[in-house]
Amino acid sequence: MDGDAILLMLALGPASAAGFYWAMHRHYRNTDKSHAFEHETAVEVLALTGVEADRKVDEIRATRAPRIQGDNVGNHRQRVQPM
């Protein structure tokens, strides 16, 4: 067993304690819950455009990141710069 694997194994104890505390605290206090208005409101899309205007602008070679940096496509409530 190499050094990285041993460190990983040793971290399991503190990680499981912290994970258990966090999960239970959330289960009791529900601080992460709110109205999912994005999905629970009646929305009618009249027009969705822009797909045809997407343009390739660059290429990335040999990155180790499996996702785009700053991925926020699923985080609908994160506000970004105004246009």
């Binding site: 258990f20 505390y21 929305v43 969705l48 822009g50 785009i68 496509v73 246009m83």
Partner: protein, 407 residues
């Protein structure tokens, strides 16, 4: 001094000056007056909401009737795509700055002056002749809304749901909370909301990436995965309508900071079937308490814009699925073309427990949606017990890991 010619002003200021006043939709119940709410059949004032239904019942002659649904009475579900400007229900108009909650009404039965504190109640019994008085006319303190959604979940059902919710969270619950737990003390409250229809269009711009190649380099423990990808400039525009989005119109309830309060659990039990809301009649509130709104449309507009932008981003998501390394939005914009605001009292069963602590402690709520029965709550935690069990689990896992390493 010469008066200003709007044509000489910049376009945004000119638009603001020339824009029509917010159109008010008159939702006042003209057939009702402040004071005695009579049964339409026998004239008695012993009128109550019949639990489990949307009907009113006369306790004297047992006659039952239902108020008109606002959706049909005022055409609120229609024409959202054609909305322009800001339309406001007459019960959602701005509150008068000097309005007071304490209101005095002359009893129609005996002429006595009866005071009703509209901050917490909309009905009172005359202390002389026992008639029930209700506040029906839309007064300038915002206490009378455009519509009310009657309770359908009965108290027994709410108590059972709260008990079930807490029973799933007993092990690490604060001992004092468990000792004092009496769900029968749940209170039916009509909480104030603005229910908004809106049409908007939004834009978002950013970058998306598509994986073109995935490969590994190195051998053995140095083996690592690398990716090649194409970067695309992505822009989307969505034109959309939203029907019946509820916003808390109480500053206190609208503050969802979970470090200082547990109002987020009341927010979580949204939405309600607001399509079934009926025109205002104070008799629906007999036996329940109510909370007066203290926010006007202008206060809630930034929150609406924020939520509309979030909805727009959610609607755009399916159109960027081809970017398998996902998308990073960098710029966004929302433009509201039209909004329609209706104030409503929505029914919530609330169980509260005050946990003492620094800065006045924390009030924990367990809330049951008075229509759907959806339940959410905050149960205070016995911290030492939870920490002890977490440390015990961590110790056992660590011992197993050490045994595995030493093997």
């Amino acid at each position: 001094m010469d008066s200003l010619d709007p044509r000489t002003l910049p376009q945004p200021i000119r638009d603001e000056l020339l824009a029509p006043d917010p159109a008010a939709i008159d939702t006042s119940a003209k057939e009702l007056r402040d004071g005695l709410n009579h049964c339409p059949k026998c004239g008695s004032t012993e009128v109550r909401h019949r639990p489990g239904t949307d009907r009113l019942i006369c306790l004297y002659c047992r006659h039952e009737w239902v108020a008109t649904r606002v959706e049909e009475a005022f055409g609120l579900g229609e024409g959202i795509a054609d909305l322009r400007g800001t339309q406001i229900g007459s019960g959602a108009r701005d509150m008068a700055a000097d309005a007071t909650s304490l209101r005095s009404y002359k009893c129609g039965g005996c002429g006595a002056e009866v005071v009703i504190n509209t901050a917490t109640a909309m009905t009172a019994r005359c202390h002389w002749c026992r008639h029930v008085l209700g506040v029906n006319e839309q007064i300038d303190d915002g206490a009378v809304p455009d519509a009310v959604l009657p309770f359908q979940v009965k108290k027994d059902d709410a108590v059972a749901r709260i008990r079930q919710f807490v029973n799933k969270r007993r092990l690490f619950a604060l001992k004092a909370f468990k000792d004092e737990f009496t769900p029968e003390n749940v209170v039916g409250v009509y909480l104030p909301y603005m229910v908004v229809d809106a049409r908007g269009n939004a834009d978002a711009a950013g970058f998306g990436e598509i994986e073109t190649r995935r490969y590994t380099r190195g051998e053995g423990k140095n083996k690592q995965t690398y990716y090649d990808a194409d970067v695309w400039r992505v822009q989307r525009h969505v034109d959309f309508t939203v029907d019946d989005l509820p916003l808390e119109s109480s500053a206190r309830r609208g503050n969802l900071d979970t470090r200082s309060n547990t109002h987020n659990v009341i927010n979580t039990i949204l939405p309600f079937d607001t399509k079934n809301a009926v025109t205002w009649n104070a008799s629906y509130l007999v036996g329940y308490t109510s909370e007066k709104r203290d926010r006007d449309v202008q206060h809630l507009m930034p929150r609406l814009q924020d939520q509309m932008l979030s909805i727009a981003r959610a609607q755009m998501q399916p159109s960027v699925q081809r970017y398998d390394r996902s998308v990073r939005w960098e710029h966004e914009r929302i433009d509201l073309q039209g909004t329609r605001w209706v104030s409503m009292y929505l029914p919530v069963w609330l169980y509260a427990y005050h946990q003492p602590g620094p800065d006045g402690g924390l009030r924990h709520y367990i809330a049951v949606n008075g229509r759907t029965g959806e339940t959410m709550g905050s149960v205070p935690v016995q911290q030492w017990k939870l920490i002890l069990v977490a440390l015990s689990i961590g110790t056992v896992v660590e011992a197993l890991a050490l045994w595995f390493i030493a093997r």
